[in-house]
Symmetry: C3
Subunit: 382 residues, 3 copies
Amino acid sequence: MSTEPLATAIERLPLVDHHVHGALRHDVDRAALELMLTESDRPGPPGTTQFDSQLGFAVRRWCAPVLGLEPHAAPEAYLARRGELGAEEVTRRLLAAAGVAQYLLETGYQADDLLGLDGMARASGRPVGEIVRLESVLEDLARTGVAAADLPARFHEALAVRTADAVGLKSIVAYRHGFDFDPERPTDRQVVSAAGPWLREVEATGTARVADPVLLRHLLWAGVDRGLPLQLHVGYGDPDVELHRCDPLLLTRFIKNVEPYGVDLLLLHCYPFHRNAGYLAQVFPHVYFDVGLGVNHTGMRSDAVVAESLELAPFAKILFSSDAWGPPELHHLGALLWRRGMLRALTPWVAGGEWAAADAVRVARLIGHDNARRVYRLADDG
Amino acid sequence: MSTEPLATAIERLPLVDHHVHGALRHDVDRAALELMLTESDRPGPPGTTQFDSQLGFAVRRWCAPVLGLEPHAAPEAYLARRGELGAEEVTRRLLAAAGVAQYLLETGYQADDLLGLDGMARASGRPVGEIVRLESVLEDLARTGVAAADLPARFHEALAVRTADAVGLKSIVAYRHGFDFDPERPTDRQVVSAAGPWLREVEATGTARVADPVLLRHLLWAGVDRGLPLQLHVGYGDPDVELHRCDPLLLTRFIKNVEPYGVDLLLLHCYPFHRNAGYLAQVFPHVYFDVGLGVNHTGMRSDAVVAESLELAPFAKILFSSDAWGPPELHHLGALLWRRGMLRALTPWVAGGEWAAADAVRVARLIGHDNARRVYRLADDG
Amino acid sequence: MSTEPLATAIERLPLVDHHVHGALRHDVDRAALELMLTESDRPGPPGTTQFDSQLGFAVRRWCAPVLGLEPHAAPEAYLARRGELGAEEVTRRLLAAAGVAQYLLETGYQADDLLGLDGMARASGRPVGEIVRLESVLEDLARTGVAAADLPARFHEALAVRTADAVGLKSIVAYRHGFDFDPERPTDRQVVSAAGPWLREVEATGTARVADPVLLRHLLWAGVDRGLPLQLHVGYGDPDVELHRCDPLLLTRFIKNVEPYGVDLLLLHCYPFHRNAGYLAQVFPHVYFDVGLGVNHTGMRSDAVVAESLELAPFAKILFSSDAWGPPELHHLGALLWRRGMLRALTPWVAGGEWAAADAVRVARLIGHDNARRVYRLADDG
């Protein structure tokens, strides 16, 4: 069975990257770039470099040629060429070569350093939809001097305004608490009571970071009420995470409680719990998942991660995302490595006559764009 | 090193399917069949089909030819052909082609829709032993109007009667509570005390579903007293499960407490915790495991699951099961995909001279039937 | 891209085995040897043999030729040949063929049956550094009749003396309690209070086994104060372990608390939690890990385990160890299987032009010896 049509189809898939952040606005030096090639927020041990990692090797192998260098260019040469071309041209090239047709941009984190909705649209020449981070909306509200008693109502209003043009919502409750939270909706009285001390702290410190589980539950349920697809950071991330508390299985009761509301839940990244996420996506009609982030950071091993994403979940329940943040190398590699992983997984099945070639192409299209278009109700020219 | 003798041996293995349910008695329509191709008990999102899954693709690839269709037949054609042949013929063909020499049938769930011991023996032409579900025995007893004070003694009696001809027992404590239960045997006083309210509820509602952890522990320990091999549902299953509470590692203390009784514990399915099960099977002489259920539902990826089952556990501690329930496609694919997975795992080891060919055949026989015959004390003619 | 230089480089890597125990001093009979080919401390079911396991097959495949037998020699022939050569010659041959340049020997367990620092140096002809087990130091101290009130100060003194020439420390808190311990340093008052009953028990029974979490935390923090690299048994081990309490993610807060002290933490073995360990090694600069032990016990499947170790962790954060204990077969196979796994993982990446050949060699050197030399400050001729 010829596998060439499959290879061509995967190469040309007009991907919807359903969870991505902005590319960097400005040039960065080596130290800064290295810190963006890891989920760590600390420099590595002296004498080591983040380039000596699966992601670092992938940058040198695949991004170097996009910038006009030989594959496997040394980090020094890569940095020099990056500086020579300038941030704008580097971003333009790497985004163009990614073959992403549409971005759903999560705008909640360190937005000042990154291209926003318009900037990403300009740099990529592609449409960009917005995913609104619930925690950011609440934190913005807290900084306005809202009274605790008014918080529940005011948050619903703020959310409605902030998401008027959004296609989805996102929560980072994984980072702020973990998934071992009470799966029930808190009462307004509980929310007001939790808001009091927190708002006083915000006023005193001038900084707002919501970590109270009652307030986090409030924003999750307000998100459910808003009715847009709700993304949840799951699994692996920076050291703020206590990873054992971010196993998506801990969400089981919350997932059941949300089910009657008809809101889709999208479990993001999920590594190393992606098999658990696949289980949830099989048994709950409103649960979806992807393996973004992990694909980039596992580099050559991402073929295993992508393959493991193709187990329990029906093919209508798996999505593609890069979770790229900052260096456009991540936007580029997220797409490239996922395509590569899909090709590696599906090709032997088609070659062996175990999957029909047309089915394999259809599965790649479902995961690559169709599922995202359906869930987020995107226009077809997406 | 020639791998042909290994391929032939695996293809012809007279399997003992040590945990399986009855095939469907009657024809079903597409909606009903789709619901039996997933562990979900809910329909998928509108516009999606359970045929777009690893299991759905496997049905179309391997079951279609058994029914006289081309591989990869469309779901509509497959359903039409199924209806044309009728349930009896479909079942007869798919069972015959599975090459299973003996079934150990778990008879505890929705038995009315499924072939029983005799029906399965007739449809397959093979001997069928019985695995009795402990929860069902207790629930049947509850419906007889037993008094709480008599429950402990009466359950032992009922279990003796019900299992007079059984080869093993099964518990679904994973579904009803999870494995985070007190690993000690409850006292009769505790059992009577827990039985009171439950029996009143059974009387009031007319339905009996045991979920009280004291009663569940009582039936587990009564099962241990009965002395037959005791199967435990582990890991992945329908949405009743809270999967993080079904990691077999949570059974560690219970396993240690059971050890002096000389009763074998068989951890069923285990996905995605099959590596954890393999560890338990290595360190505890009375612990065994299989990767049934997951093999079917991961389709082409089942080769990874089967390979992962061949890590820590000694080869005398791994068994084969399909965990098929309902559509005889599941009985067929459970055997076919396990054979395929074993062949995929063992062939390169033999080809590379890293395992002796005779050893590989012996391991396939241990897992395929010998271990089950030893544990369940089955007659050699299977 | 030629992969021959990579194969040659991996074959010749002068490994630093950064966590290993002594080889057996004496000949053993079959029953004793079988018990040392499993992490179980119980004989298997009657009629089964530990030779029917991944490790057993690996012994027959790779150790048999080192003893002058054909590959896949039967266990009986293997045992006979072992007896014929004698323990000393068997050890000499298997160590020599392992190609290990330096051993870091953990000396805390059943040292009487095993070669010590000098014995291993003589048998291997290679330098041997010492890793001191913290629990053993405390237990030795307890047997001297120390008063509870003096324990904190006396333990610091004893540790200083005992580790004067050591290159690292080790804790088995995983075995004695699990990782769900209070991550804060206990006060001396708490330590004294916990020491009282324990020391009375030691005096009464004449045996010392520390399992009190306060005392275990005391020795961990005393280890941190000592300033040497600190190894932690993680994951899979003998049945003393409650494996779900040994997920390294449970160490997250302890890891954060240790960070300011500048002490490196080395997560040993880690199976089946090695992906979790890789995450910790990425985000925390002072966390390292290896997949020793699991590599031996998964035999032909160790290529999967080694490959999975090459995901999130930067290559400067992964180490090699065998965790061999007792039969020198384990010392031999630990090195052989790890080399084989690295070769299997890296070769296709180099062959496909996805990693530069020189990078692959460099990664093998980092993991095989350079990282250990840096972390333990070993001499270059190590």
